[in-house]
Amino acid sequence: MNQMTDNAVYAGGFSNPPVASAHAFRAAMNAMARPGMVQEITGATPPEGISLAAGSLLLTLCDPETGVFLAPDVDSDALRGWLTFHTGAPIVAAEEADFALGGWDALMPLDRFPIGTAEYPDRSTTLIVEVAGFDAPNATLSGPGIKDTAQIALPDPAACAGNAMLYPLGVDFFFTSGTQVAALPRSTQIRAEA
């Protein structure tokens, strides 16, 4: 590794890990508890091409005990080095992933990720999906965490609805863009908007 990549690898971590990760986790928890509601999340500066939100989630949630799958569109030596240095998380195949990072198309097909078992539905992947933004909602959400309904922009509402059909099995999603995050747990009912 040359000097430049070395620096990139070591930089961009949480400046005060206990506090930064507490803040980032609060945002992640609020997102997961309130599907579709966008939260601000910062703290990490991941290698170029990865959103601050996705980087902050990775630093908050990943460590040597969690396998991370990097979809081809985000996979790079720089990201691998950064993730390994800051979290120690092993890079694994989609079929073994606790977390997966990438754009929607690069992450697909969805059915290769663990969805948990009937006795342990928690043994499933959490996908961190990089999206362009949250400005054009195309789906209406209802279910736990949502007072009446919520709106969200989903890359593929039908695929997400299919995931919800597996409940209580299924994967859970974080959608990240810039410094923003929204979540879609498997418990959410999805209606695509015309």
Partner: protein, 286 residues
Amino acid sequence: MSDYNFAYLDEQTKRMIRRAILKGLAVPGYQVPFASREMPMPYGWGTGGVQVSAATLTPEDTFKVIDQGADDTTNAVSIRKFFERTAGVATTEETEKASVIQTRHRIPEAELTEDQILVYQVPIPEPLRFLEPRETETRKMHALQEYGLMHVKLYEDISQHGAIATSYAYPVKVSDRYVMDPSPIPKFDNPKMEMAAIQLFGAGREQRIYAVPPYTSVVSLDFEDYPFEASKADHPCDLCAAEDSYLDEVILDDAGNRMFVCSDTDYCRSRREAGHVGRLGEEAAA
């Protein structure tokens, strides 16, 4: 602050707990196993709640701890001091001012808001445990949604006593899927569980975390002909005259005279400050 890490736990432990909390929120009412750590207080004394709070608190939070509804019970004091020392967070006894509330056995009377998090200490997280002691069996029962045994138990109560003889830790069904133990709160509190705040449950010794997101349906199990009833002592509070709060019964003297007072000490205090006076309120104020 002390030499320990912020909020005592090391970062890796917090990550493990945080992952469990997120899965718990994604599957409401399902008990997520987590590798509970040994805490500097005994198992059974709130180690699950303490671990969940430690993984949840930020330095900006205002923390409230109640035990039996009261802020000044010894175990509540002990846990509050623990976080004052290890997390340096502000603490309060006022429900409205708290952003994170850790509780043992009660839900505050004041309605909680979207900006609040309620952390429950849970001794036995498995609602089916007293019907079936084996984890391997109860896990299957949850997987298959096989809750008949629970209904049989409740119905046996009815045939024997004419009423459901469960008065606390009364089982609920969450989001129409998982039967969940609400922790040993009186069944009076059950209807409050459909709330705006995030509810997190930590069982340290049993190594389980579960959660109820805001606005999630939480239904107390019952029967059409024997509907669930959120009962309490049929008295007003003797200090603040509240008719809608859960009451503690206090024995006053050798003659067995009693009084009833709000178990939620902050609720009672705020009512008295607002001028409400109960049967013995004047006397107590004197």
